[in-house]
């Protein structure tokens, strides 16, 4: 190559670099890159994979709904908060326009810091620790109940459950995971319980444990020794399985296991691993509306991608993950830009009424929090999560006290 040819080539390259921002802008305006961070391995692995199902079906459904092209950039944070932080940084470096995830409060808090520092919108699918949206962040949004909301709704539903079944348990033993979520829920219960005077029971003992525990023998024997009428449980999935097995081994048959709002007992793996032992466990959780139009669309896409699976097992995880991506896509469509600030402003103006999950429209308050998300009392019946309360959405009547596990 001669010097003149080289210089000419250099000039062309220079011009193309100068023109590049325009190219980027054009490219950005036609496709939204969504970084999806989930715990697809580690002790939260099953739940992360369940959430991923909602992300995987989102591009197709949203393309049909809004005409928006979405490119998913998937990342596994291995149930480790530090890994979540580095995965978020890498996704942003690699060009993600918006981050969605991560199911876990600890990870959400870490990713929120990164998103805020780097100015990248972050839409939380599932994470309940209230402080995440109390920091004055401009790029962090959450379409999920805070621990306080979960507890309030969960305890109200417990009251409804006792009323519907004409039972009056006097005592409960409270067991909870000691991670960020578990601590937030415990704080919430401590704050809300005194105000719910209609609840007939007292918490006689509180037992915390490691969510990654491999053995809960001591914890369960301590809970059994409390002689409480029922078990109030804030758990994850793996520990819920270990705990249920241990209850059977120790022949502890309380009136029931009731979660005021935590994952675990409605997850597919809980049924698969425990079989009949999974029956009658109760979770008062944010849930999807089986009758909603969007649910039907999502269910169709879900079954197409997972022909051997059922949406009931993934409704909460897949539903909220799908809605988080929908929020980002809807904002992108209105903003007509992938500029982070424009996207964040558009997310703030969100008003989605056609939604999948129970509750009012998706609208963010000044803190970036959606309010008015509904909960349901979900009881495991015939190896399926079944809505038993509120009566308007129920497909079966609640059973409490639950039969002895040998009769289950």
């Amino acid at each position: 190559m001669k010097r003149r040819q080289f210089n000419a080539g250099l000039a062309v390259a220079g011009l193309s670099v100068l023109a590049n921002p325009l190219n980027i802008a054009r490219a950005q305006s036609t496709r939204l890159k969504v970084g999806v961070i989930l715990p697809r391995s580690g002790y939260l692995g099953f739940i992360g994979q369940s959430c991923q199902k909602g992300a995987d079906l989102a591009p197709g459904v949203i393309k049909d709904m809004l005409g928006v092209d979405i490119e998913l950039m998937n990342a596994d944070f291995e149930s480790n908060v530090d890994t979540a932080r580095t995965r978020a940084e890498r996704l942003i470096q690699e060009g993600a326009n918006v981050i969605v995830g991560p199911f876990d409060s600890g990870a959400a808090a870490a990713i929120a810091q990164v998103a805020e520092q780097r100015g990248c919108p972050f839409v939380i699918n599932i994470a309940a620790a209230p402080q995440i949206t109390e920091q004055g962040y401009k790029f962090v949004f959450r379409n999920f109940q805070t621990a306080g909301d979960i507890v309030r709704n969960g305890l109200d539903l417990i009251g409804d459950l006792f009323q519907a079944t004409n039972t009056v348990p006097r005592t409960a033993v409270y067991m909870h995971v000691n991670d960020t979520f578990g601590q937030a829920m415990t704080k919430g219960i401590g704050a809300v319980m005194p105000m719910r005077t209609q609840l007939p029971f007292k918490i006689v003992d509180t037992i915390s444990y490691d969510p990654a525990a491999k053995d809960l023998t001591v914890e369960v024997s301590k809970a059994k020794a409390s002689n409480a009428d029922f078990l109030l449980l804030v758990c994850r999935l793996n520990d819920a399985i270990i705990l249920r097995r241990e209850m059977v081994k120790q022949r502890w048959n309380p009136m029931g296991i009731v979660s005021p709002g935590s994952p675990g007992m409605y997850e597919e793996q809980y049924y698969k691993t425990l079989g009949k032992l999974s029956e009658y466990s109760i979770s008062n959780v944010p849930w999807y509306n089986p009758g909603a139009k969007l649910t039907k669309i999502v269910e169709k896409a879900f079954l197409k991608q997972n022909p051997k699976d059922r949406l009931e097992f993934h409704g909460l995880n897949a539903g909220f993950t799908f809605e988080a991506i929908l929020i980002a896509a809807d904002a992108f469509k209105r903003a007509r830009s992938t500029d982070p600030k424009a996207l964040a402003d558009a997310i703030r103006q969100t008003n989605i009424t056609e939604k999948m999950m129970l509750g009012g429209p998706i609208k963010f308050n000044a803190k970036g929090q959606v309010e008015g998300i509904g909960s349901a009392c979900v009881q495991n019946r015939n190896l399926l999560p079944t809505v038993v309360l509120p009566a308007t959405a129920a497909t079966a009547k609640p059973v409490f006290p639950v039969p002895d596990y040998k009769k289950a």
Binding site: S41, G45, N178, D210, V218, K222, N238, R251
Partner: protein, 267 residues
């Protein structure tokens, strides 16, 4: 499991940082045999332990023996690398999902008065005691066992009298791997197995053998009982969240006041 770690260190003087990962592989082997042949994990002990003996022998002969005379940090890096390869190999083959075996007696317990004893745990404890007894008899009564002990007591002396030290090291590592296999087959009845399960158990095994005394078989058993009982007591009388704190507290106390471990010999 801790017994295997102690045996390997006591003779070969190599700290097996892939110990937990080896146990994880044994657990997967037990789940595979259960899925394919409905073989009870306690019956799987025989084929899995035999396979692990061969695996341990080959690993020591081909990979670890060349590092025996190298600095300790080289050995450390080697075994950490082996551990990482094992975890990622398991992820490739089995994926991140947890696996388990499901047998009726896993949920049953013996009732003695007001005390309930978990059947699976009792059987696992029985298997551990039998393994320890077998190993003890092997080292005390057989010629090969005595030769291995000679290597452990005096490496140079063993070379002088013409013992094939490298072969004996490989045999020892094979025996240690057998212990791990027995632990894995018993453990799969108590814990679901995932590829990243290993490091937590490697750490636990270290705590046990350091408390009991590195290289002491009896120390490994005593350390295991002490750590288990201290964790249970702490969980019951203080708070379950403090369980690990107590076992590590015990470790610090032992390191401060008896660095060679409760039954270890001063070097």
């Amino acid at each position: 499991m801790a017994l295997g770690l102690s045996v390997i260190f006591g003779v070969v003087r190599v700290v097996n940082f892939a110990h937990g990962e080896m146990m994880t592989i044994a657990m997967y082997a037990a789940t595979v045999l259960f899925a394919a042949l409905k073989l009870d994990p306690f019956l799987s002990i025989l084929p899995v332990a035999a396979a692990f003996f061969v695996f341990g022998y080959v690993l020591q002969s081909a990979v670890i023996n060349p590092f025996i005379t190298r600095p300790e940090h080289s050995q450390f890096m080697l075994l950490v690398a082996v551990a990482i390869i094992m975890v990622n190999g398991l992820l490739l083959v089995f994926g991140p999902d947890a696996r388990n075996v499901q047998l009726d007696y896993q949920l049953e317990s013996f009732e003695i008065g007001r005390i309930l004893i978990d059947k699976a745990r009792l059987y696992a404890a029985g298997a551990a005691v039998l393994a320890a007894l077998g190993l003890f008899l092997f080292f005390k009564k057989t010629l090969t066992g005595k030769a291995i002990r000679a290597c452990a007591d005096n490496h140079l002396g063993a070379l002088v009298v013409g013992l094939d030290v490298k072969h004996l090291y490989s045999l020892t590592f094979g025996l240690g791997a057998m212990c791990v296999a027995i632990a894995g087959c018993a453990m799969v009845l108590l814990v679901d197995v995932t590829p990243p399960l290993g490091p937590a158990y490697t750490l636990l095994a270290f705590v046990i053998v350091i408390v009991g005394g590195l290289g002491s078989m009896g120390g490994a058993l005593l350390g295991g009982v002490l750590i288990g009982v201290s964790e249970a007591m702490a969980g019951l009388f203080i708070t379950p969240s403090a369980k690990s704190m107590f076992s590590f507290g015990l470790l610090i106390l032992v390191l401060l006041f008896r660095p060679q471990g409760l039954l270890g010999r001063k070097s």
